[in-house]
């Protein structure tokens, strides 16, 4: 039980850190890393919910986390592609 709270609590802390970093930092890479950290925070929380004591862990949150990772990777890739396009147009900006 304590481990579950530690894991879930760490997830919430990660989410809060990510949101802070997203809002205060200007560069695209830092914003993207911040978003991914927010995502990891949510995934932490979901994995912590999967714990069911002596029973085998609940598979549904695991499936959710896998889907979430796929979505996060695609979104990060698109954002990086758009960012690169902007840099090619204007190398100084």
């Amino acid at each position: 039980m304590t481990a579950q709270f530690l894991f879930g609590g760490a997830g919430l802390v990660l989410f809060a850190l990510g949101i802070w970093s997203f809002l205060v930092h200007e560069p695209l890479l830092r914003k993207l890393i911040a978003l991914n950290i927010m995502g990891s925070g949510v995934f932490h929380l979901l994995i912590a919910t999967a714990e069911r004591g002596d029973l085998p862990p609940d598979p549904v949150p695991h499936a959710l986390v896998l889907t979430g990772i796929v979505v996060a990777v695609s979104a990060t890739a698109l954002a990086l592609a758009l960012g690169r396009r902007l840099e090619e147009e204007d190398p100084d900006g």
């Binding site: 949101i19 997203f22 695209l28 549904v60 758009l82 902007l86």
Partner: protein, 479 residues
């Protein structure tokens, strides 16, 4: 075949086909658009007959499987999406010039449609998250399609804001799963008990979605993203994509978090809506470019939809509440048709003049009588003049505000309506007495007709024949 799965599967397959055969992307895209329209309207027809539909693809039921469901609200939005997206697809086939990237347009367009239908049909909070992400990715890629640095920068910002919104929504979903062990909307609604976890989840999910729906003061990303995209994309972003996020807020508040919707919470949304109406209309009046005007007007129109929340909360279940909900849907549909018509027409004006600065549009507007007429019709619906659908919507909104004793919302509606009249006439004023009137009403049928039909629907069809919408929204179906 399962009609709900078809409404998502047909555009998805068409999108893959258009991506696999880029040389025939346009033909495949148009065929896909037509097939998707048929599949979508079939869902609406079935809901009309049966009241509501639910299907569990693969035979996996809730809580493990992902169910799809449709009721009157989703059927109305699916039908609107189908008609607007079909008209815009026909417009796009005539709008893009060679070398203007039409090939990438079609797969993304159909993917956007897939995600919209998926959002309206999902019965599961996590499935909704995936569809919203798909919608955000397709919308951001479409927005950047023009390739100008301003459009790419606006789309990148739109993508990042959308991701922030989805992550916040996802944290809410995780909390709901922690507390109730299910993600099916009906099961969550049955299990929900007011408490700190449910309250936090509702705030997180509503906040994330409000960011995506551009609810004041979270609207800052919308005007640049919508104004810089190419015309068919702007139309879809403003008329459909924003509506999807709003639909989710409505769905969550009406069906899932019902016990948590207190007068204070509903009033907060109403206040933000009132601020959006006044601020969005004011900025639209001050906008120098036609597409920026249309984008700010979207901010205001989302505000009107939010004004319904405190009234719905204060109205007990019964005929009055059903009328109010139907008025809300009617305003959302009217705005969808009017705003897509306006953006498509604005795109033609921009293409013809090479810019869209309102002050210098005089001669151009007069050269395109059909397009100017579309702008005027769409403007009629945005102001809320009779016989447009938003006239009925605003009328019921104000009647209900008087009946529930919340007369202060009327001030916001009146101010917004006056400002809307001012910004619409500011554009139309450019269209008279500048050049000799051309003889031909239509100059370019393939692009001008879809815009005209969309604008005409918002005024004539939705205003004069709104009755079927009331029947569609009946819980037991109309037939």
């Amino acid at each position: 075949m399962d009609s709900l799965a078809l409404a998502i599967g047909v555009p998805l397959i068409a999108a893959l086909a258009a991506a696999a055969f880029p040389a025939r992307a346009q033909a495949l895209g148009l065929a896909g658009a037509l097939a998707t329209t048929v599949a979508s309207l079939q869902v609406t027809a079935l809901v009309w007959q049966q009241g509501s539909l639910r299907s569990e693809p693969g035979g996996w039921g809730a809580p493990l499987g992902l169910a799809l469901q449709a009721d009157g609200l989703s059927a109305a939005l699916i039908a609107m999406t189908a008609l607007v997206a079909l008209a815009t697809a026909i417009y796009a086939s005539g709008y893009f010039r060679p070398g203007n990237r039409p090939r990438e347009f079609w797969p993304l367009w159909l993917l956007l449609w897939t995600a919209l239908n998926g959002t309206f049909l999902a019965a599961d909070l996590f499935n909704l998250y995936v569809n919203m992400e798909l919608l955000g990715l397709a919308a951001a890629a479409l927005g950047a399609l023009g390739g100008q640095p301003a459009a790419v920068a606006a789309s990148l910002r739109y993508l990042l804001i959308g991701l922030l919104g989805s992550m916040t929504y996802l944290l809410g979903v995780a909390l709901v799963y922690t507390a109730y062990g299910t993600l099916d909307m009906d099961l969550v609604a049955a299990a929900l008990r007011p408490g700190p976890v449910a309250g936090t989840a509702m705030v997180l999910m509503t906040g994330g979605l409000a960011l995506k729906a551009a609810l004041f003061p979270l609207h800052f990303w919308l005007p640049p993203a919508h104004a810089n995209a190419t015309a068919p994309v702007s139309a879809a972003l403003s008329a459909l994509v924003v509506k999807a996020a709003f639909y989710l807020v409505l769905r969550l508040w009406l069906d899932v978090f019902t016990p948590l919707v207190t007068p204070a919470a509903a009033h907060l949304i109403g206040l933000l809506g009132a601020a959006a109406v006044v601020w969005g209309s004011w900025r639209a009046l001050r906008a120098e470019r036609l597409k920026l005007l249309a984008a700010y007007s979207t901010v205001a129109q989302i505000g009107y939809l939010c004004l319904f929340f405190p009234l719905l909360q204060a109205t007990p279940p019964g005929t009055a509440r059903e009328d109010l909900l139907a008025a809300l849907v009617l305003m959302a549909l009217t705005h969808g048709f009017a705003k897509s018509g306006l953006f498509l027409a604005a795109g033609l004006v921009q293409q013809s003049a090479g810019h869209d600065r309102i002050k210098e549009l005089g001669g151009t507007a007069q050269h395109l009588p059909a397009t100017t007429f579309s702008i005027a019709l769409a403007g009629t619906a945005l102001i809320g003049l009779p016989p447009s659908g938003s006239f009925i919507g605003k009328w019921l909104l104000m009647t209900s505000a008087v009946q529930t004793g919340q007369w202060w919302w009327i001030a916001a509606v009146m101010t917004g309506t006056l400002l809307a009249a001012a910004y619409v006439f500011r554009v139309l004023g450019q269209a008279f007495n500048l050049e000799p009137t051309p003889r031909r009403f239509l100059t370019q049928g393939r692009t001008e007709l879809p815009a005209l039909l969309l604008a005409l629907t918002s005024v004539a069809v939705l205003g004069l024949a709104a009755r079927p919408l009331w029947q569609l929204l009946q819980p037991g179906g109309a037939a």
